[in-house]
Structures are given as structure tokens and as C-alpha cells.
């Protein structure tokens, strides 16, 4: 069974989320499958009894058994069904939790890596489009089991029929009819197997269109203001018109092709059915069994041939689905390779921590999740739609052809449309809560292979205030990321109190820093939790900090105080805060932590001059005896820092006090300073 290694791994993972779901669901299937056999059996008994003209009481007894049996099976099915649904929900919950844990346990490097992000999105996309991946795996395993149960029952009853046949004289016609039926079934299975591959190529077109829609829709989430003033709708209309038409044409083509493809298969099914009727009638006339049994045996034969075909189909789908399972497993396989360290960080009340960068250079990693991740993407895209969606159709078409009811599969495809809509919502919700605009300069330097930082050497004494200035993309934010060990240097080393920072216990080291990144994010949970970063908070401390960062006036207007949820995507009654307000909250959050290092990246970009000035004037009070790093395009902030580091193209070009640097006429700092200061002369 090496062929199903991926499915095996995925099954073990999903099974571990809830170990009772699959057993329950299989038990339910057994009950479900008993029902048609029981009814066929009982109706044959009744009809035979009628033919034989038996007593009324005998008949009533048979009827009573039929009714009671059906009631028992239905009730047991309902109870098991409910238990299985509950188990399935808990399975889904645990799966969501597993994804949550995985994402949150990833190294920063991985979190920032677009490939990892793509992988996660891919898994979500797969589940939108006709539930590829683990959902389809579950469905197919259940279908496989259903048909195996069917096969066992129908084979047993077929054996019973053969037993009857041996009691009548041998006739070539009867044997030929049975052989013809077997041959037609075999042909049908072979043909269906072949068709499956073709059908999957037909569905490729559809899946491509769906994936395309999914992919582009976040690209057209327009702002109502921009759209009206700049008439973006003209372009958006064009895009959607095209995509809607592509959608329609792809579906239309795929369905038409599949219909034609299925014609011979349906023909074979009718012929095989004809053979089974003829064979059963033939032997009935011969006297192998009573007339009442015809329907029973024709029914069994139909189920026997059907289940064999369906088993092949389920195995095939499982195989094709492995493509979509791969990203799922891959995601959980992402290994963290950042060295975690073991040296305990000394708890120093005097906050005597000194930092030194020694000839540090840094390049953003090329692609973090090995190349495999990328390959899976391509493969998956290539094979998109093979199997699953397509096969669902084969299934449906087949059911229709054989005239048996159960057309549930037909509707499988129907949800695809709403899945897309769902996707768009996910994106929209994502945007809704995102706070300040500033999407960070990180990306510019992230161009592969380029040095984001080169030969950086600088010392930072305890209690010092360092201002970091420079043009967009000069490496300021990267410098901070290295300091906080979100990334490790490519060359050189960073020391804290003479030890390489890699040696310290990672979590403890992280706890030394309070950072407000330019692209900080608040959570949509209550304000108090945002500030304390914990389940509970110290109201006095939180309120005092909110006051200090200038959020006091707004805070007093919040009726629910620290219990007020931020934004609307967690709690409908949440309160939207502006970019400036969010910035103040983020600042309060950083201060609440009371860590020895405080790092602020453009903390006043969205603030008005008074609010900014308040932060400036209270900076000493706010920072206290902590070591502080302040990054800003507003050079005024340099005036209250002990030391200024000027970054240019990934290097530190100047270090010194404001006065020293300003004295270097023609230097970078001189240029930057005067660009702003001239207006305030």
C-alpha cells in the first residue's frame, strides 16, 4: 500500500484529531447498507408468500418483521448519525486548533516567508474548491467503506443465487447471460477508469477558472472613495465580466464533454442490467428460484456490479487527491531551524544589558521552505481539478444512468460558487481589522540576494537612547529585526553582555523587548487584553498608560472601558479606532510589558503635532531607565536621543550626537535634517 502513503499519513493525522469519528461513521454506514438488502429480501419473501397463497397470519408476520426491521435500522442510523456529526465537529475544531498551533509556533522567518503563506492559502483554497484535501479524503474513505460493505453483502447473496442455479440442469444460455453481464461490468469498470482521466482533464479548465477567480478577487477589493473619484470600476467591470463569462463557458464545456463521454458508459450499464434481468428471468422460468425472488436478485446483481465499480472509483479519487493532501502535510512538516538557545537571561533589576553588533551583515533568505513547497504548488496547480471534482460528476452521471436515486453528488459541484464568495469574505475580513497603513519597507530590501545590511558595528549601552534615521529602504527595520532575533545575521554576530544572543533562551530573550513595529497589528479582542497581552489586566496600570500615550480622552468615552473589543470582526459591538488611536494603543501595549528594551518604529506617523509633542516631551518619563531605540522620519525625534545612527543603503554611515552629526556639513544627516528643518527656521 505504498501507493497510498500520503493518504495514510493524512488519515493518521486527521484520525488523531478525533479517534471516534471514523469508527462511528463506519458503524453508521453498516446500518445504512443493511436497509436495502433487508427490504429486497423481505419483499421477495412477501411476494413469494403471496404467490404461494399462504395464510393471512403468515403474511402479517412478514409485514410486521419488515416494518419493525426498518424502524430499528432508521432509528439506529439517526442516533449513530448524530454521534458521528458531533464527533466530526470536534474533529474540525481540533483541526483548526492544530493549524493555529502550527502557525503560531513558526519561526518569524517562516511567518514572513511568502512561500509559507502561499502554502497555507493553498490548503484553504483546496478546501473551498469542491473540498479537495482532507475533506475529500474523508468522503472517499467513507465511500470506499460503503462499497466494501455493499460488496460483502451482495457477494454473499450472489453466492446464494449461484447455489440455487447449481440445482437446475446446465444451460448454455443462462451461463452466457451471466458471463455477458460480468463482461459488460468489467468493460464498464475499465471504461470508467479511462474516462476518469479524461474527465479530470475536462475539469482542469473549470478548476483553473475557479482558482483564477479566487486568486484575483483579493486584488479587486476596491475602496469606495478611490473607485468613485478615479473610476476604477470600468477596469473592475471588465475583469469581472471576463471572469464571469469564463466561468460560464468553462462549466458549459466541461458538462457537455462529460455528457458525451458518459454515453457509452451509460449504454454498458443498461446492457448489463438487461443481461442480469434476462439471466434471472431465465433461471426463474427454469425453476431455480420462485418468481418472487426476481427483483431481489436483479437488485443484488446491480449492487454487486455497482459496488465493484465504485470501489475502483474511490481508490482512483484517493490517489488523485494525494496532490491536494501534500500541501496539508507539508505545512505541518515545516521545520523551525532557528537555534533556540539555552542560556537563561539574567533577571536584572538594574536593566544592565549591553548590546553589541560586530560586523553584522544580513541577507533575507532566498526561499525559506525548501524548494519542495514551491514544487507542490506548481504540481497542484497543474493537476488542479483532476479527479475529485471531475469524478464527482462521473459518479453522479452513473447514478442517473442506472436509475437509482441518491443524486447527492450532483450537488457537490454546486457549492463551488459559494465557496468563492466565502473566499472573498475571508479576504475582506482580513483587511477590515488591519490597522495602520504603513506596509513596511521590509519588502524593498527583501529582493533576493541583495544585502539588506552590510558590515554593521555598533554598541548600545544600558539606558541609552538611540535614534535610527535614514531614507526609505535603508535597512532600519531590518536592523531592529536582527536585534530582536526575528532573524539571525548572515555574517558577524550580535552580543548581549558579551554572549552571542543566539545562546540565550529564545523566549526569555524575546521578553527583553517591547517593540512597536511600523506594521504592528492589534487584535480584535478587548482593549484590556490588547494592552496586557494576557487574559487579565491591571486596570490601574493600563489606564495610566493609556493616559500617558494620549489616549485618555478617547478612553473615557468608551462605555465598556478596557472591556471594549476593538474593531468589528471579533465582536459586532466592537469599536473602530483610527490609525492614530491604534498607534497609541500599540504604544501602551509595548509599555505595559515593562521590558528592558523599548523599540519604537515610526510611533507617531499617524499622530497630530500636539499628540506627537506630548509623546516627545514625556519620552524620558515613558522610557524611564530602559534602553530605547527610536526610528523615525521625523528627525526632530533625534533631539532627545543620546546617539544617532544614520543608515544608508544597508550601512551605518554616521554615528554621533545631533550636534556632532550636524557639524559634518554635507553628510547624510546634515542633508536629511535640513530638508525638514528649513521650514521651521
Amino acid at each position: 500500500m505504498k501507493r497510498f502513503a500520503v493518504t495514510g499519513r493524512a488519515f493518521r493525522r486527521v484520525h488523531s484529531y478525533n479517534p471516534v469519528y471514523f469508527p462511528l461513521s463506519f458503524l453508521k454506514i453498516i446500518f445504512q447498507q443493511i436497509s436495502p438488502y433487508f427490504n429486497l429480501w423481505m419483499s421477495a419473501e412477501i411476494v413469494t408468500a403471496l404467490y404461494e397463497g399462504r395464510e393471512r397470519a403468515d403474511l402479517y408476520q412478514l409485514v410486521a418483521v419488515t416494518l419493525a426491521g426498518n424502524a430499528v435500522v432508521q432509528i439506529a442510523g439517526a442516533l449513530l448519525g448524530r454521534a458521528a456529526r458531533t464527533a466530526s465537529e470536534s474533529l474540525k475544531n481540533n483541526e483548526a486548533a492544530a493549524f493555529y498551533q502550527k502557525t503560531l509556533s513558526l519561526d518569524y522567518e517562516k511567518i514572513e516567508n511568502p512561500e509559507v503563506r502561499k502554502l497555507r492559502r493553498k490548503i484553504i483554497e483546496n478546501s473551498w474548491i469542491n473540498s479537495y484535501g482532507v475533506n475529500l479524503m474523508g468522503d472517499m474513505l467513507e465511500s470506499l467503506f460503503t462499497n466494501l460493505v455493499d460488496l460483502v453483502f451482495s457477494a454473499a447473496l450472489f453466492a446464494e443465487m449461484i447455489l440455487f442455479l447449481t440445482r437446475v440442469p446446465f444451460r448454455w444460455l443462462g451461463v452466457l447471460l451471466l458471463l455477458a453481464m460480468a463482461g459488460l461490468t468489467a468493460a464498464d469498470i475499465v471504461l470508467r477508469g479511462r474516462n476518469m482521466k479524461k474527465v479530470s482533464t475536462y475539469w482542469d479548465g473549470v478548476t483553473e477558472v475557479l482558482l483564477e477567480e479566487n486568486r484575483i478577487s483579493p486584488g479587486y477589493s476596491v475602496a469606495g472613495t478611490d473607485n468613485r473619484i478615479y473610476r476604477q470600476q470600468t477596469i473592475i467591470d471588465r475583469v469581472y465580466e471576463k471572469s464571469n463569462r469564463a466561468h460560464r463557458d468553462a462549466f458549459s464545456r466541461a458538462y457537455a464533454k462529460i455528457f458525451v463521454l458518459m454515453l457509452p458508459v451509460n449504454g454498458l450499464i443498461v446492457l448489463s442490467k438487461l443481461c442480469s434481468y434476462l439471466a434471472v428471468c431465465f433461471y426463474c422460468i427454469l425453476g431455480a428460484f420462485p418468481a418472487g425472488s426476481i427483483i431481489k436478485y436483479v437488485g443484488y446483481l446491480g449492487r454487486l456490479t455497482g459496488s465493484i465499480g465504485n470501489i475502483f472509483y474511490a481508490l482512483n479519487s484517493l490517489k488523485t487527491n494525494e496532490h491536494y493532501l501534500k500541501p496539508y502535510l507539508e505545512y505541518f512538516d515545516i521545520a523551525n531551524d532557528m537555534y533556540q538557545g539555552s542560556l537563561a537571561v539574567e533577571k536584572r533589576s538594574d536593566k544592565e544589558f549591553e548590546i553589541e553588533f560586530r560586523d553584522v551583515s544580513f541577507r533575507y533568505p532566498e526561499s525559506v521552505t525548501n524548494n519542495d513547497a514551491g514544487n507542490v504548488q506548481e504540481e497542484a496547480a497543474e493537476d488542479a481539478g483532476s479527479g475529485a471534482a471531475g469524478s464527482a460528476e462521473v459518479y453522479a452521471a452513473e447514478d442517473a444512468g442506472s436509475g437509482i436515486a441518491g443524486s447527492a453528488e450532483v450537488y457537490a459541484a454546486e457549492d463551488a460558487g459559494s465557496g468563492i464568495a466565502g473566499g472573498a469574505e475571508v479576504y475582506a475580513a482580513e483587511d477590515a481589522g488591519s490597522s495602520a497603513a504603513g506596509s513596511a519597507e521590509a519588502h524593498t530590501a527583501q529582493d533576493r540576494g541583495q544585502w539588506a545590511l552590510r558590515n554593521i558595528s555598533i554598541q548600545l549601552k544600558a539606558g541609552e537612547r538611540l535614534a535610527v534615521v535614514g531614507m526609505n529602504g535603508s535597512g532600519k527595520t531590518t536592523f531592529i529585526k536582527l536585534l530582536c532575533r526575528l532573524y539571525d545575521p548572515t555574517e558577524g554576530e550580535i552580543l548581549m553582555n558579551d554572549f552571542n544572543i543566539r545562546k540565550y533562551d529564545y523566549r526569555q530573550y524575546l521578553d527583553l523587548f517591547s517593540v512597536v513595529f511600523q506594521d504592528y497589528n492589534l487584535l480584535a479582542v478587548p482593549l484590556g487584553n490588547n494592552i496586557s497581552s494576557d487574559a487579565s489586566w491591571d486596570t490601574g496600570k493600563a489606564e495610566q498608560l493609556l493616559e500617558e500615550v494620549g489616549f485618555g480622552e478617547r478612553y473615557r468615552k468608551m462605555e465598556r472601558g478596557l472591556n471594549t473589543p476593538l474593531y468589528k470582526n471579533f465582536d459586532e459591538d466592537g469599536v473602530n479606532v483610527s490609525g492614530g488611536e491604534a498607534q497609541k494603543i500599540a504604544l501602551a501595549r509595548a509599555l505595559y510589558r515593562d521590558a528592558p528594551f523599548i523599540i519604537l518604529d515610526e510611533p507617531t506617523a499617524a499622530l497630530d503635532p500636539i499628540a506627537e509633542a506630548e509623546i516627545y516631551s514625556r519620552f524620558d518619563e515613558i522610557v524611564g531607565d530602559k534602553t530605547a531605540i527610536y526610528i523615525s522620519h521625523r528627525l526632530s525625534s533625534c533631539r532627545f536621543c543620546d546617539k544617532i545612527a544614520v543608515f544608508d543603503c544597508g550601512r551605518i554611515v554616521q554615528v554621533g550626537t545631533h550636534e556632532e552629526l550636524l557639524a559634518e556639513i554635507g553628510g547624510k544627516y546634515y542633508e536629511l535634517w535640513n530638508a525638514q528643518a528649513q521650514y521651521y527656521a
Binding site: V63, A78, A97, T225, I229, Y240, T444, N472, R639
Partner: protein, 614 residues
């Protein structure tokens, strides 16, 4: 139950019949063959089960009558080919219906989006009432099985069930009316039983609906990489997970309660089935024993009971379903009826550049707010004037801009541009006067050219003008360094050549867009927040050139900008507090002077005391 009462309000506006006809007409116009196929499914759906049930009857009766094998073979071939052909027809029709069913929803959805994002007043889209209406229309008329094009499907289903009942009942009634009565009663009861769980669900869903939103938010964090960074940094992960677990379990408990009703309903339905099938058996056996029925007929009639029960349950569902459908269609219609304050029809001629602007006693309050944001603001901007607008966060600057842009309409007072009230212009035409840089930047997966030139794509020298605008905004070099130049797409991960611009670059790009549009009113709201000092200074130096022949409003927290404007207006608490040139305001020594002082002290060369305390 606020939602319910609101929803019932919309029902009254359009009668159910009118909504059904309206939706039918729309689909008829959009896709006639879809409608044709939906109806073509009726005859096969009625006839196929009948033929399928008739076959064993004939077979059994002939067997009982001791017919030869060849006779049975002929019967089998006949019936099976009939069943095969009918199934083929059914498949064909179904396949065509499936193929066509997505397109209408997609079109309706696009129309909704276009209305919301473009056609209706912008102000509407920020109103809670409008958002709700949009939510209903979206959920109830444009998603999955709720989609309104299914109104035709509803009707065809109803026809199938109706014809089915008439045909089958006439067969069954000739035999015995008791069975029919029992089947009807059991079907009705079964239908209402199936409604038990959904009804219980609807009645109690307020108990967990909010929790679902919270659970989904928390679960969604596994896909929210930017936020994952902050969660890790601040060590929030365990607490959030515990909270997620709590919500999951809470919702699970309620779902179990709901499904308990479902199980009970199934148990009762199973017992009702005993009643129905028991009666059928008894009556049919009695008829057979009395000699009025052959064995084949017995089997045939028994399967008729099953079919007719299906049709009966179906038709009760159809009637209820059609009513719901009509209500849902009404939500869609009501959404498009949302009233506008601006004029979207023909308007008066646009004024020639440069234009004058006047705010006369303008009051504005946001939807749902307790206080006015603008409180009787009056302001005149002369033709060609360069105005600087300053003030604290929340003073109303951005609101003022949105009013001037015709994105909001004041509750009281009026705004005149070129001597006429904004409402007198056709609002889309009015927009063409405006070149605006908003504070918030939203990128789209457009090409750089499309992004810059979307306001007027068909201009003869569009590409040349776009190049010119990008040069002026200092972004041309960056754009030319991209693989496909200005035909490169914005946003990574959408198109293959997509690129993400940094905050500073984006700010330059939206400036280029405003320059390209060349509107006679130039409005810049914090256009340099993400720019480094050099880039910021470059914009200041170019400001004179950019505003040539235009009326302009410049909003910034950086007072440097006020030095190159003709006049400064200081907004405070929704009114204009101070107005004048930089020198005048400095002499006045009011709020402006104070704010300027606060900001400039750090830039002056005298020593600043540590910690910023002067």
C-alpha cells in the same frame, strides 16, 4: 429580533408575487435556454419513476402467467430501452442546467458589488442600515442555494410534484382512497417534523451566533500571518487558544442540543413510516387476497405509495420554499432602492477651472454617532487659492475633505463649487473635477498604468501623460525598473508579474494618479506620512508647479507644508478656529502658533534639554 422586524419591513415593500415575477423576468432576459432546460426536466421527472415501477409489475405478472423466456426477453428489452432513453434525456437536461446555473449568480453578485462600490452614494456604504441591507441581499439572494435564479427551479419542481401527485393519486385512488389519505397525512406530518430542528435552530441561534464570529476570528488567526507576528512577539498565543477552545466547545454544546431535536424527529418519522407502510401493506394484501389484485400490481402499487409520499412532502416544501424565495428576492430589490442624497441623473454644466469653493454653515454627523463632527463650518476658498488645512486628530479635516469630494452630504448647510450646490451637478461628472490623494491607500491588482490612468483611460495621449505624471511624482524610475515597466501589475501573488510597492512608493504612486487626472481641485490628505525627509522635501518644492491653475487643499500634521500655501485654516472641534497666512497666525499667537512652536522647537538650533523639556 431586530433583524426579523426589519426584514419583515422589506417584505411589505414588494409583494411576493411581484418579486417572483421580477426575478423570473430577469433570468429570462439573462439566459433563456436555462429557463427552457429547467422546464424540460418536468416530463421526464414525472414519467421515469412511473415506467421504472411499471416494469417489475409487468414482469411479475407475466412470470406468474407462465409466459415463455422469449416473451419476457422482449418485455425486458422494451422497458429497459425506454428507461435508458428517459434517463439519457434526464441526464442531458440536468447536465445543461448544472452548466448554466452559476452564471446568473455571478452576474447578480457583480451588479451588487458595482452598485455598492461605485453607483450608490459613497455615504450610504458607511451606514449601518445599508450594510445590513447589503448583507441580506448578499446572503439571501446571491449565495449558493439561496440564489434567486432558482425561482424557475422552484416552479419546475412544483410542476413535477403537482403532475406527479395528480398522475399517481389517480392510479392509487382507483384502488383504495384510504391509502391515499394515510399517505397524505403521514407526509404532511413528516414534513413538519423535518422543520423541527431548523425551527429550533432559528429560534435559539442568537445564543451562539456571536460566538461563531468570535470562534471564526480566532481560528482565522492561523491564516493571519501579519497578526501572528504580533501574537508571538507579545506571547499571546496560549491565551488566545484557550479562548478559541472555549468558544468551540460552547458552540458544540448548542449544536448537540439542536441535533437532539433532529434525532427525535427522525425517530418519530420512523414510527410514522411504520404507520404508512403498514397501512399500505394491509390494504394491498387484503385486496390481493380478495382477488382484486395480481402480485405484480401489488408490487407496483406499493412502490407508488413511496413515490407519492415523496411528491406530497415535496409540494408542501415547495409552497413554503417559494414564499421564502420571494422574501429573499425582495431583499435584493430593496437593496438597489436605497435612497441617494446626490444627483445621479442629468446635472448642470461643470464650472471652468480654477473653481471657487464655499462651505455655508455645514453640519455633519456620522451615522450612529452621538455628536456632530462638523458644527456649522463656513469656509470660502478662492479660485486658484492654495489652502493648508491643519488641526488635531479628530478635528474634522478628513470629514471636510470627503464633503468637498461629494462623498458625504451635509445634514445642514450647503457646499457650493463654482457657485452651484453640489447636488445640482451630476455627481459622477462632479468627481471628474477632483484630484485627490487620500490618507488611506488601497492598492488593486491593476497594472501601474491602469492604476495611474483609471480616471481617463481613453485619453489620446494616455500613456505619455501617465509617464509625465509619474515623473512629477518621482516614481517613474522605480516603475521603469520593473519587469514590464508600467504594464507591470501591482500586488504580489495575484498576477505572475505582480510587485508590492513600499509605503513611500505607494504614496508617490497615488500622487501620480492625482497629477494624471489633472482635476481643477487638488486635495492632498497627509501625502507625505510615509516619505523620507528628502522625498518629502521634493514634494514641497514641486508644490507650486503641481497647483498651477488649480484650487488646492493640503492637509498635514507637518507644519512645514503650511509655508508654501497662500492661507492656513485651523480646524478645531468641527469649526474654523483660525485663518490667515503663516506670519499672520504666528503674530496672533493662537492655537496655530502654539502647535507650530511645539513642532518646530526640535528643529531649531538652540540646544534642547534632554527628554525634550524646553
Amino acid at each position: 429580533m431586530e433583524k426579523e422586524s426589519e426584514k419583515s419591513g422589506t417584505k411589505r415593500r414588494y409583494s411576493r408575487i411581484s418579486s417572483i415575477i421580477w426575478a423570473m423576468k430577469r433570468l429570462w432576459k439573462l439566459d433563456r435556454s436555462f429557463v427552457f432546460f429547467i422546464f424540460a426536466s418536468v416530463p421526464t421527472a414525472v414519467v421515469l419513476p412511473l415506467v421504472t415501477a411499471y416494469f417489475p409489475r409487468v414482469l411479475l405478472d407475466h412470470l406468474g402467467a407462465g409466459k415463455t423466456f422469449s416473451e419476457l426477453a422482449i418485455i425486458s428489452v422494451g422497458f429497459l430501452s425506454a428507461i435508458g432513453l428517459l434517463s439519457l434525456l434526464k441526464d442531458f437536461i440536468e447536465s445543461r442546467c448544472q452548466a448554466r446555473r452559476y452564471y446568473p449568480t455571478a452576474v447578480y453578485q457583480s451588479e451588487m458589488d458595482a452598485f455598492e462600490n461605485y453607483r450608490t452614494d459613497f455615504e450610504n456604504t458607511e451606514k449601518q442600515e445599508f450594510r445590513k441591507s447589503s448583507g441580506y441581499a448578499q446572503q439571501d439572494a446571491c449565495t449558493g442555494n439561496c440564489a434567486m435564479e432558482f425561482v424557475w427551479g422552484d416552479l419546475s419542481q412544483m410542476l413535477i410534484h403537482l403532475f406527479g401527485i395528480v398522475t399517481y393519486a389517480s392510479l392509487l385512488l382507483t384502488l383504495n382512497p384510504v391509502i391515499f389519505a394515510v399517505v397524505t397525512a403521514v407526509s404532511a406530518a413528516s414534513y413538519f417534523l423535518t422543520r423541527w430542528q431548523p425551527k429550533y435552530y432559528d429560534k435559539h441561534k442568537s445564543n451562539w451566533e456571536k460566538e461563531i464570529r468570535k470562534r471564526d476570528y480566532l481560528q482565522g488567526l492561523s491564516d493571519d500571518f501579519p497578526r501572528a507576528k504580533d501574537i508571538k512577539l507579545y506571547g499571546l498565543s496560549d491565551w488566545l487558544e484557550k479562548m478559541m477552545r472555549d468558544y468551540q466547545n460552547y458552540i458544540l454544546r448548542w449544536n448537540k442540543r439542536c441535533s437532539l431535536r433532529g434525532v427525535l424527529a427522525s425517530v418519530i418519522a420512523a414510527l410514522l413510516a411504520v404507520l404508512q407502510n403498514g397501512t399500505a401493506h394491509l390494504v394491498l394484501i387484503a385486496a390481493l387476497l380478495e382477488g382484486g389484485l395480481t402480485v405484480g400490481e401489488f408490487v407496483f402499487y406499493f412502490s407508488l405509495v413511496g413515490e407519492i409520499a415523496r411528491f406530497l412532502q415535496g409540494i408542501i416544501g415547495d409552497i413554503a420554499g417559494l414564499n421564502t424565495r420571494a422574501d429573499k428576492i425582495a431583499y435584493y430589490r430593496v437593496f438597489f432602492d436605497y435612497p441617494n442624497r446626490f444627483n445621479h441623473g442629468p446635472g448642470c454644466a461643470l464650472p471652468a477651472a480654477p473653481v471657487a469653493v464655499e462651505f455655508r454653515d455645514v453640519w455633519y454627523r456620522y451615522d450612529g454617532a452621538k455628536e456632530d463632527t462638523l458644527k456649522g463650518l463656513s469656509l470660502t476658498i478662492r479660485e486658484g487659492e492654495k489652502l493648508a488645512l491643519v488641526g488635531m486628530n479628530g478635528a474634522g479635516k478628513t470629514t471636510l475633505v470627503k464633503l468637498l469630494c461629494g462623498l458625504y452630504a451635509p445634514q445642514r448647510g450647503e457646499i457650493l463649487v463654482g457657485g452651484r450646490r453640489l447636488e445640482e451637478y451630476n455627481i459622477e461628472e462632479y468627481y471628474s473635477l477632483l484630484s485627490v490623494v487620500f490618507q488611506e491607500i488601497r492598492t488593486l491588482a491593476f497594472t501601474v498604468f491602469e492604476f495611474v490612468a483609471s480616471a481617463d483611460l481613453s485619453r489620446p495621449a494616455a500613456r505619455e501623460d501617465a509617464v509625465l505624471a509619474m515623473r512629477k511624482a518621482d516614481i517613474y524610475e522605480k516603475v521603469m525598473s520593473l519587469p514590464n515597466g508600467m504594464d507591470t501589475h501591482l500586488m504580489k501573488g495575484i498576477y505572475d508579474d505582480g510587485v508590492d510597492f513600499s509605503g513611500g512608493e505607494l504614496q508617490k504612486l497615488v500622487l501620480a494618479r492625482a497629477i494624471y487626472k489633472d482635476g481643477s481641485l487638488l486635495i492632498l490628505d497627509e501625502p507625505t506620512a510615509a516619505l523620507d525627509p528628502i522625498a518629502e522635501n521634493n514634494l514641497y518644492m514641486k508644490y507650486q508647479e503641481l497647483t498651477e491653475g488649480k484650487t488646492s487643499v493640503y492637509i498635514s500634521h507637518r507644519f512645514a507644508s503650511t509655508r508654501f500655501c497662500d492661507r492656513i485654516v485651523l480646524l478645531e472641534d468641527g469649526v474654523i478656529r483660525e485663518s490667515g497666512s503663516h506670519d499672520e497666525l504666528m503674530r496672533q499667537g493662537g492655537r496655530y502658533a502654539q502647535m507650530f512652536e511645539v513642532q518646530s522647537k526640535y528643529y531649531r538650533n538652540e540646544a534642547v534639554e534632554k527628554g525634550g523639556n524646553l
